[in-house]
Amino acid sequence: MEYVEMDLILFWIFFACLSALPLILARLTQGPLKDDKKDDQEDSR
């Protein structure tokens, strides 16, 4: 059973990293999302 549980922990870590990858890539290539909103607000003023 130890093998099974260790295997599953690795699975979950792997899935967590994989699911976060698109968001990380969006952040790296586009910068923070919120800055744009602030800019928009300033523009509208």
């Binding site: 994989l18 698109p22 969006a26």
Partner: protein, 475 residues
Amino acid sequence: MNVYVLILAIYLGVLTYIGWRASKQVQDDDDWAVAGRSLGVWETAASVFVTVLSAVSFIGYMGYYYQHGWAGWWNWAGTLVATALFAGFFAARLRKFGGVTLSDYLDVRYGRTHGLLAAVLILFSTVLFTMAQLVGSASIIEAATGIPSWLCVVIIGLVFLVYTVIGGMVSVAWTSSLTSILILGGTFALMFSVLSEVGGFSALHGELYHIDPALLDPFKDGEIGLGLAMSWVVTWGIGNFGLPQIVTRFNSAKDEKTASYSQGVAGLLFILFYLPLMLIGLGMRVLYPGIENTDMVAPTAIMELVHPVLGGIVLAAILGAAVSTASSILLQAGTVATRDIYQKFINPEAPSSKVLSMSKATTFAVGIIAIGLSLMNSSTVLAIQANMVGILGSMLAMSVIIGFTWKRSNSQGGMAGMIVGIVTAVIWYALGQPFGWMPILPSIFTSSIANIVVSLATPPPSQEVQDIFFENNTR
């Protein structure tokens, strides 16, 4: 009245109401086709999420996990790869280009013939894809409620046809948001029911280990080989770039950053859907180990394990996955036929009001044809549609990827890549899919090679085209 029928009727009623409300927001053809390019991160993410998911995602995939255990995860790994590629690069570039359809892109990047060729194939495929969703969802509802399949096809078909025609992309975006919540809620509720029946997460894996330790192995102890695993990853990781209903979703986002971030959110939505779905499939393997037809795993879980109200909600989620995909596809039919064929080749001066009414009329006609074909239930048509994803992906995916990443790719190379891609796919089918590889896998290699070799042997694309896509890539 059957509880399932009541909940499904309420859901269909809500969709129709949303379509009616959305129709009030539609002022011109841009509102209809791309929601006025105004969608935020969540709406764009939700529309991609429900477009990718279908009735097959629920029924077929749950059965696949039941059969193969954790190794089944390879069939959605490619979706995450595509999502990461869109988030990191392509979503922003597609949005910045600023077209409406996939043919728009091929037209500007490679030439009018490329755009027209793609438009014709896309138009043809929309009928088949819509039909697949109708037939799939109708058979599930027939199994659960006893309503004849033909009646389900007519009712479901008319509901999504009406809300897509009157509300266009605005309608698709709003219904997608609602359906995403329904899908995630339904899947999680079913997962908790199954896990509580099994005795929890650890008990589930302990039982699976006793049934067959290979069910916990990422490759099912060698049964799912690297070739098949990569075939899944490439089919969806690259093939999604050839599906117009997905790549055009970014054109509705309000800007490039929104398009890119929407894919970050979509990645989370996918994992929040697929992991519970896997756990349901695995739990069902423990609870009902003798199900031979794996397509019956999902209906068994719904009808045997949960309260009818919850079962009805899960059924509505499955129906939602099907109609959302169908409406996204149907929207393509209207925009492609009107903008890529009528407006570009027949009447370039057509006013916005004329384009809008033609788009609606075409969408309605394609929807009616799809409903009619679904009622015929022809095995030949079903066989063609089952292979259509591979054919579209084989022809178009590398044209999108290479076109955005390699400046030197030109019109001749693009055409060579498209033709070689589709020919390879057809030959691969005819050969009976050697090594168990799906046709898109060899097609990606052959179409890339054809695109590169022919492009290098012919003059580079014009400076104007290079500027649009690689310097100041706005239109």
